[in-house]
């Protein structure tokens, strides 16, 4: 046998320094792994881009005429910030499916037996999902500009809106991480995520303003987090009245992470 590499002393503790640098190094290794998957399985990226593009086209050309007047804006301008939010919600489903796949394949067994930071698998997965969302948002932005979307504020406002949507997607990733680890099967994860997601996306102000909905639905549709983030993104990109939406959106993001991250970490520990 040609084991040429010299034996190295076993590290006495994880990463000589301290637990934080160890956590960062392990998380980066996991981000790297997840991004390689994204590159090797381009279907994942292609389909997560095609879906929002189809939504933009359908909604603009099918419903745009009917809904447009009620928004006080060209419908496409109203729609695009909402589509970004909807994408971040659908993208978070990918977190659930990815983690469920890792449980089912036995990869988490391997990770549990390695001296790595326990939270790095989740931190790496959710961080990689942000990178994916950035990519999808860039592609959908390009398409929407081509078919007539215009920023009403300035580039900074637009980028601020995108940053807010990405943060919201990150927060949701932690919710869906818990779902994926709980169900432990990719198909089930998809089925379990949909009923959580569909009412939040469709009973929201993503596609139409709340005034057009059944009156009993309006209070929910106006104040649930997806709508709040959509309204905040519109305030930033289109200069629509803010009315505290941006602050509310940030509070939702912080609140969702504060509640769902510890749940997801506990689920991770007992997932194998």
């Amino acid at each position: 046998m040609s084991q040429a590499t010299v034996a190295i002393p076993i590290p006495a503790e994880r990463h000589g320094w301290n637990r934080f640098t160890g956590f960062v190094a392990d998380s980066l290794a996991m981000v790297g792994r997840n991004l390689i998957t994204l590159r090797r399985v381009p279907q994942l990226l292609v389909f997560s881009t095609i879906q929002p593009v189809i939504f933009v086209l359908l909604f603009v050309y099918v419903f745009g005429g009917a809904v447009g007047d009620a928004t006080g804006l060209p419908y496409i301008d109203f729609l695009v910030p909402g589509i970004f939010v909807q994408m971040s919600v659908f993208g978070a489903m990918g977190t659930a499916i990815g983690l469920a796949t890792d449980v089912k394949s036995g990869l988490l067994e391997r990770f549990h037996a390695l001296p790595m930071a326990r939270s790095a698998v989740l931190a790496g997965r959710t961080a990689a999902d942000i990178v994916r969302n950035v990519f999808v948002i860039m592609l959908v932005s390009a398409v929407s500009f081509v078919i007539g979307f215009r920023i009403h504020t300035d580039v900074l406002g637009y980028l601020g809106g995108i940053a807010l949507v990405l943060l919201f997607g990150y927060a949701l990733s932690w919710v869906f991480a818990g779902v994926g680890l709980a169900v432990k099967d990719p198909e089930t994860a998809q089925a379990a995520a949909f009923p959580i997601m569909a009412p939040l996306v469709f009973a929201s102000t993503v596609f139409v303003p709340a005034d057009l909905m059944a009156s009993w639905l309006q209070p929910f549709a106006e104040h649930q987090p997806v709508s709040v983030v959509a309204s905040a993104a519109r305030a930033l990109m289109l200069g629509t009245p803010n009315e505290g939406y941006i602050l509310q959106a940030l509070l939702w993001i912080v609140g969702i992470i504060a509640v769902s991250a510890p749940i997801a970490v506990r689920r991770y520990r007992s997932a194998v």
Binding site: I10, E109, H112, A113, P115
Partner: protein, 329 residues
């Protein structure tokens, strides 16, 4: 910390229950440093549960386990720094290449990056995976995938290695190569805990064997000790009827013959000679076996001898019925 004479692995009274299933009913064993210890048993005996506890993946309900003197629950992280695992359960990422998988595991094992790169290349060479090193694992054959699993266990050069049925799904040359690698690792001081369903594998590799059944250790010893109980050869023959078989067992009363229906097994230390004697005895009484095999003892023989039941749960014997011809009833 441990010193040289302490066991590398010490397991005391380990119990684990999954709902109604008692996976481990209290097992004890010790593995001396730089030896191979075999956990031998059928599916569902509790071997994998023991490995998962020892590799800190799950915690035991009761009992303790130490690896190199570190408790697998209280000192899990120090244990993880010192072990490698190739398991039925633990796998690699199908979308990463062989090389990327080994690098990832090496980095997460907290070994220096440059060293890990060299080590990965070396292991790919050793397991004859170099030509496929930069292809995603999902393009690998089953055997290549098993070899990469084992390579992943070796990346950090861990002093203690857990191999959970490592040769399942490997062809003969790959199996022999893996056995040779394991022997060399042990010669260099690595301690190996191996689970297997094959008596032959445990016999060839392990210095000591614990036979596990229904979550308990039912026998422990060197392969030679176990075989002494068992005979080095098993003579198995069938008679025309149960009555003939019963008569034959009566005639062979010296030989520890065991009857099951019309089949008889006789463990023996000197196969050919016992066989000749047996046949002479039967012939003198006008009994002729309808079939006859002479073979090495299998896990199933160990089980039958130690527990009185087969290694695999056997279906209830069906009463002989004429097979309908042509499907018409």
């Amino acid at each position: 910390m441990s010193n040289a004479n302490d066991p590398a692995i010490a397991v005391r009274g380990l119990q684990k229950r999954f709902g109604d299933l008692e996976a481990l009913a209290g097992i004890d064993f010790e593995v001396a440093s730089a030896t191979v210890f075999g956990l031998l048993g059928p599916n569902g005996a509790g071997k994998t549960t023991a490995v998962r506890i020892l590799t800190t993946i799950i915690e035991p309900d009761r009992g303790t386990a130490e690896v190199l003197g570190f408790d697998v629950v209280r000192d899990a992280e120090r244990v993880r720094l010192r072990i490698g695992l190739a398991g039925q359960a633990a796998t690699v990422d199908p979308n990463l290449t062989g090389r990327e998988n080994l690098r990832l595991v090496g980095r997460l094992a907290q070994r220096p990056r440059a060293w890990v790169d060299l080590r990965a290349a070396e292991l790919l060479e050793l397991f004859e995976l170099s030509p496929a090193a930069d292809r995603p694992i999902r393009t690998y054959s089953g055997g290549m995938r098993r070899r990469l699993d084992v390579a992943a266990a070796l990346v950090g050069r861990p002093p203690v290695l857990f191999l959970d049925e490592p040769t399942t799904g490997l062809d003969l040359p790959s199996r022999n190569a893996l056995w040779a690698t394991i022997r060399e690792l042990v010669a260099e001081g690595t301690t190996v805990l191996l689970t297997t369903q094959y008596l032959e594998e445990a016999d060839r590799l392990a210095g000591r064997i614990a036979v596990v059944d229904l979550g308990r250790v039912i026998a422990e010893g060197t392969p030679a000790e176990l075989k002494a109980q068992l005979g080095s050869t098993v003579i198995e023959f069938a008679m025309a009827s149960d009555t003939d078989a019963e008569r034959a067992v009566g005639l062979l009363s010296d030989a520890q013959a065991e009857r099951e229906g019309s089949r008889i097994r006789v463990p023996s230390m000197e196969g050919p000679r016992s066989l000749m004697e047996m046949l002479r005895t039967l012939d003198a009484d006008g009994l002729y076996p309808s079939s006859l095999t002479v073979r090495e003892p299998s896990l199933d023989d160990v089980f039958l001898r130690l527990t009185g039941h087969h290694a695999e749960p056997v279906a209830e014997p069906q009463p002989e019925q004429p097979v309908p011809v042509g499907g018409a009833a």
